[in-house]
Amino acid sequence: MEKNPIITLKDISLSFDGEQVLDKLDLSIYDGEFVTLLGPSGCGKTSTLRIIGGFLTPDSGDVFFGDKRVNDLPPYKRPVNTIFQRYALFPHLNVYDNVAFGMKVQKKNKAEIAETVDRMLTMVGLKGFEKRTVSTLSGGQQQRVAIARALANNPKVLLLDEPLAALDLKLRKEMQNELKNMQKSLGITFIYVTHDQEEALTMSDRVVVMDGGVIQQIGTPIDIYNEPQNVFVADFIGDSNLFSGIMVRDLLVNILGVDFPCVDTGFGENNPVDVVIRPEDVLLVPAKDGQITGTVTSLIFKGVHYEMNIMAGGYKWLVHSTKMEPVGAEVGLCVEPENIQIMHKPHSVQQEGHGIDE
């Protein structure tokens, strides 16, 4: 991607009452992309968004819009709009006036305001709700008003802070699709915050995985899932089997005392590494054919596949398979070399950390 970033965060640090919330954060966001900040509660996602919106001033570091430094630009002058975690609709105004708020304070003419509000409410499916007070709307409808209100300002970038967290599962799926479609058709850059990894993987062009105020990995959903850069990412995204292993030499890793061929090189010889194997990548074979053998300890039917726990080599493997093996069965486990993901141990992550941004 040779485009220039639309927003750049450089070396951003932030602390509250001596507690470090963001630590030397670097992040570039490109025009028209859907970027998701993903991480557990309290990892600093909202704070990052607020720094971009202008509601929080970082202790150090710079915020750029294009190549203009905007650290001192107040929120109302920034070309971004926010959808707040709890919607923050104005309770004293009806739906129409909520959506029209931004245009009214910018003194747009009446006809233009009416036309835009109408277009926005049509887009979010709330035409006819103009006169309703926001407190009479359901959570999903309030969410739509918040979206219409933010988009009515025609922002270059939309910031969304866990916008769907309060909705029930079905509605959430629906809104995920709608938001994604809106983003594509309007061509607006979305910076989306969530702690739901599935949501992040399905909606985003790029995912920024955060933990403890530090970016752990930036990449496409597929990269993040298939090639986690460290144990945190592997553990946070999807289900996984995590091992502490030894890189015997290039293309060979030892886990649980067994040598597994792999495709990774450059980790040195006999170096400790972290290894992740996804549950769907563990193949069940007859016991005599397995790279390692074990006993099925539990079995749950999940619809498309079975979820099994298999005790092998002193580790409880999580295995997803369409083949069913009864509890107590002796089975062999195999893993294709390309499905073994090798990662540096955490102390060396920092050295590598900055190279990850791709």
């Binding site: 919106g53 509601f55 109302y76 971004v80 923050a88 004293h92 708020f101 304070v105």
Partner: protein
């Protein structure tokens, strides 16, 4: 559904209401429409509204009530805004400072104010030491006004502070996010959302202010007659019938002035009310 079996729990309070609220009201009502001979009459009411001293006292009362309310509002609103910006620890001590006078004996408050305002009181001592001419404040309209503002200020501050501090910070952020400057945000979000508190504060200052007689007596030196003082005097002079007529009229005004803001359809989501910290 209310639990009918527990309704007897309100019994003691109903007895209280009957004995100390309903009964006195009925007595006033009875006196107001009765002449000394014990016959029904409207003359107490007509006398109350036609007597020139009453009308003057009435005008003065309204003026005082209006001024005291306006001054309290102008002092309290900006203060409430500042208070919400303080850290929690500072907040409670500052609020404590402002409601402290409420816990002081009323007579003591009035004496203290007099000591400050007297012809040879603190203000004039300060003026003299600066070589400025002295001011005669004690026992004037101004003294009563100062006393009322002093006494009723917490009743304006607390409801406003309560509503302002309960406004979600993200509503303010959302307003700025949508392009409103701080001033516009105040006009379009903070002010309308704090109206319930403002209305509640106005009622809680205006109503006691127009029915006051004690502050006027203590700080007006008996020279300034408010409608409350006229009522009080009628009763101390034993003119129960005229006094009740006047009291009834005053009561109607009090009820009316607390009802007018009730028409306002201000959002009930943020309610004003006095909550002592």
């Amino acid at each position: 559904m209310t639990n009918k079996r527990n309704i007897w729990l309100t019994g003691p309070y109903l007895v209280w209401i009957a004995g100390f609220i309903i009964l006195p009201l009925l007595v006033i009502l009875f006196y107001a429409f009765t002449n000394p001979a014990g016959n029904f009459t409207f003359s107490n009411i007509t006398a109350a509204v036609t007597d020139i001293t009453n009308i003057k006292a009435f005008g003065l009362t309204m003026l005082l009530g209006f001024l005291a309310t306006a001054i309290c509002l102008l002092l309290a609103y900006p203060l409430a805004l500042c208070l919400t910006k303080l850290k929690i620890k500072q907040k409670s001590s500052v609020i404590f400072l402002f409601i402290l006078p409420m816990w002081m004996n009323f007579m003591l408050q009035m004496v203290a104010i007099n000591v400050i305002l007297e012809d040879n009181g603190i203000i004039n001592m300060l003026l003299s030491s600066l070589g400025l001419p002295n001011m005669h404040i004690a026992n004037t309209f101004g003294a009563i006004l100062i006393g009322m503002v002093y006494d009723y200020f917490p009743f304006m501050l607390l409801p406003i502070y309560n509503t302002v501090s309960r406004i979600d910070k993200d509503l303010i952020n959302a307003s700025k996010d949508l392009g409103a400057s701080s001033f516009m945000t105040f006009l379009k979000v903070t002010l309308p959302l704090s109206m319930p508190g403002v209305i509640s504060g106005i009622t809680m200052v205006f109503v006691p202010a127009i029915s006051d007689f004690a502050i006027a007596e203590m700080l007006g030196g008996g020279k300034i007659m408010l409608i409350g003082n006229v009522v009080e005097m009628s009763f101390t002079k034993g003119q129960y019938f005229q006094g009740s007529g006047l009291a009834l009229i005053l009561m109607l005004f009090v009820v009316a002035s607390s009802l007018i803001p009730g028409d306002d359809e201000a959002e009930a989501s943020v309610e004003g009310g006095v909550v002592l910290p």
